[in-house]
Symmetry: C2
Subunit: 302 residues, 2 copies
DNA sequence: CGAAAAGCGTGAATAATATTGATATATTTA
DNA sequence: TAAATATATCAATATTATTCACGCTTTTCG
C-alpha cells in the first residue's frame, strides 16, 4: 500500500517545500505528483498534507509518514549500494573448508593479503562438516575446500596448491636427531604432540603408525604451532609437521627432522571450487593469491 | 529501484519455499512473480536466487535483500496501522496552549479522563508562545487554546468553558479574613504568593494592584497549588486563586477568602480551536470532556 | 524405467496504472 | 488589480504489470 515512491515523495516535498520543485527533483511533472498524492490519501483515508496559502503543510499523519521515510529510505539505498557491489563481484562471502590441518599456517598466509585486496568479502573458515568436505562444497555450505583427496566430481574443479613432505620434528639432543629416516617402532617410547583433531585426520597416525600397528607412549594435543615447537625444543616430545613449516623455525629453535619411513610421507594439497563459481572475481582472486603464497613458500625452501 | 513489492516477494518466497506457493499468497500468478524477479535481477545486475533442483535457493545477494525485507516490511505495515488510526480519528496529537495559569487544575481534571477515552491521542501542554496564544493556534503550533481573551478571528471558534471569580486567599487568623472585600492598598504590607509566571499574566497584578498603582511587600512564587495553600494556611503569605479551586481546600485547611475590590474580579475562560479542525473526533471528545469537567465543578460549588 | 507431477522460464496479448499536457482555481506579491 | 506562483483536475497517452499458454527440467512414484 505504502510504496517506496510515496516515501520518496514525502521526503522530497518536505525538502523542497513545494510540489512543483519536488516534482523536478523526482523527475516527474507537478501533475503526476499531485495525482500520486491524492491517490495515496484516498487509499489511506486521511489527508497527508493540508493546503496552506498556495503551499502545503504536513498533517500529523503526514509527519508520521515522513518519519518512516527518513528511517527507511537510507536503508533502501544503502542496500542498493551493497547489491551493486555484489553485482560487480566486489562483495561476497568466501567460506573455506579445511580437511588438512597442517595447512592452516599456509591458509593464514593466503587469507591475510586476500582480505587486504578484497575488503568487502567476508571470509569464514570451517573445519567440521556433517557430510564431509565434498558434501559440504556440493551442498553450498562452503565455497572452497582445501583437501588432500581430490575426488573427481563433474561439478568441481581441483587445483594442486602445493606438495610437501610430512617430517618428524625432534630436538637437537634427541637420539633420533641423528637418523635420516625412522620406522614406526622407533616412536613407541615417545610423547607425540599434534594439533587437537581426530586421529584419523592426522597423517602421522593414519599413514605411519596405524599401518605398522604401532602406538606412541603418550599423545598430547596443542593448538598452536609455536607452542608445539617450543615443547619439542624443550625435549618434552616430538611432532610431525610439513617440512617447509619446520624450516622457518630451525633458525631460532634447536630442532631437527627426519623422514617418516624410508620414502617419507609426501602429501599433495588441492584447492577445490564449484565449476559454476568459476566466474566469481574474488574467488579467482583467492586462487591467484593461493598460487602466490605457494611460490613464496617454495622460495623460502630454496 | 528496490520496491516494496520486491521485498514482499523475497519474504514470501523465503517463507513458502517455492515460487508457485509464494505467488498464491501474494495473489499473483507464478508467471507474474517470475517476471518480476527476472526484471529485478536484471536491474540489479546480480542473481538473487539460483536454481536448485526444481526449486530456488537464495544467493548471497538475495540473503542480503531478505535481511532488508525483514527489517523494513514490519515497519511499513506498522505505519499503515497507525495511519489507519489517524484515518479513523482515533490517533492524533492534541497540543494544548494555556494562557490562564489558574486553570491548570481544571485542565488536569479534563485531560485525565480524556486520556482514558482516547488512548492513542498524544496530549501535550504548552505554556510559552513566541507570538502569543493566538499566533500559536493560527500557526498550528497548538491545537487548542485555553484563554481569558476570546479575540475573534474568522479561523477560530471559541467556547466559554467556565466563569470564576478570582479571590484573595488568607489564613483564618489573618486580619483580612473578616473582610468581605478589600482594596489594593490593604495588600501593601503582605507577602503575595503566586505561580511562577510573568506579572502581566497574573490578574492580581494586572487587574487589581496595577490599576491602583499599588505593590505588595514581597512577591514569592511557588509552582504547586498544594504547597502554595499550605504556606498561606501557615500564615506565611496570601494568594489569589479561583474561588472554586479554594473551596476544595477549605475543608482541610484553615483558609478564608475575600473579594478583590467591591465587585470582585470575574474571569471568563474560553477554549479556542480552529474551525477547520471541527470534524476531528478526538477534538470534539476533548471539548465534550471539558464541558463535563465544568459541570462537575459547578456541582462542587453548590 | 518411464510416465506423471511439481517447479520455473518465456513471449505475446491484455489489463492496470502512472504520467502527461492543457487548463482551472486559489493565493500571494507588487 | 494584474502578474506570479502554486495546487487540482480532466482526458489522453505511455508505461508497466499481469495473465495465459506453453516449454523445459527435475523429482516422485508405480
Amino acid at each position: 500500500m505504502i510504496e517506496r515512491l510515496h516515501l520518496e515523495i514525502v521526503h522530497a516535498i518536505s525538502e523542497h517545500k513545494t510540489l512543483t520543485r519536488a516534482a523536478e527533483h523526482l523527475c516527474l511533472t507537478q501533475s503526476a505528483l499531485s495525482h500520486s498524492i491524492k491517490k495515496l490519501e484516498n487509499r489511506l483515508g486521511t489527508a497527508l498534507w493540508v493546503k496552506e496559502g498556495r503551499g502545503l503543510r504536513l498533517s500529523p499523519a503526514g509527519e508520521r509518514l515522513l518519519k518512516l521515510s527518513q528511517r527507511i529510505l537510507p536503508q533502501l539505498s544503502h542496500c542498493e549500494d551493497e547489491l551493486m557491489e555484489f553485482a560487480e563481484g566486489r562483495r561476497g562471502q568466501l567460506r573455506i573448508g579445511m580437511e588438512c590441518h597442517p595447512c592452516y599456517q599456509w591458509l593464514l598466509r593466503t587469507v591475510s593479503p586476500f582480505l587486504q585486496q578484497w575488503p568487502d568479502v567476508d571470509v569464514d573458515v570451517k573445519q567440521r562438516f556433517q557430510f564431509g568436505g565434498l558434501g559440504a562444497i556440493l551442498h553450498h555450505d562452503i565455497d572452497l575446500l582445501i583437501t588432500p583427496d581430490p575426488i573427481q566430481h563433474r561439478a568441481l574443479d581441483y587445483m594442486a596448491v602445493f606438495d610437501y613432505e610430512l617430517v618428524l620434528v625432534v630436538n637437537d639432543e634427541h637420539p633420533l636427531a641423528e637418523q635420516n629416516w625412522i620406522r614406526a617402532e622407533q616412536l613407541s617410547n615417545e610423547t607425540l604432540i599434534t594439533y587437537p583433531v581426530d586421529k584419523d585426520r592426522l597423517d602421522i597416525f593414519s599413514q605411519f603408525l596405524a599401518p605398522a600397528q604401532q602406538a606412541v607412549k603418550k599423545h598430547q594435543s596443542i593448538e598452536t604451532t609455536d607452542i608445539m615447537l617450543q615443547m619439542v625444543a624443550a625435549g618434552r616430545g616430538v611432532t610431525a609437521l610439513p617440512a617447509w613449516l619446520l624450516e622457518q623455525y630451525q633458525n631460532t629453535l634447536p630442532l631437527q627432522s627426519c623422514k617418516l619411513g624410508k620414502q617419507g610421507i609426501h602429501k599433495h594439497i588441492y584447492l577445490a571450487h564449484r565449476k559454476e563459481d568459476e566466474e566469481i572475481d574474488y574467488l579467482k582472486g583467492f586462487i591467484q593469491q593461493a598460487k602466490n603464497t605457494t611460490a613464496d613458500i617454495v622460495k623460502i625452501r630454496q
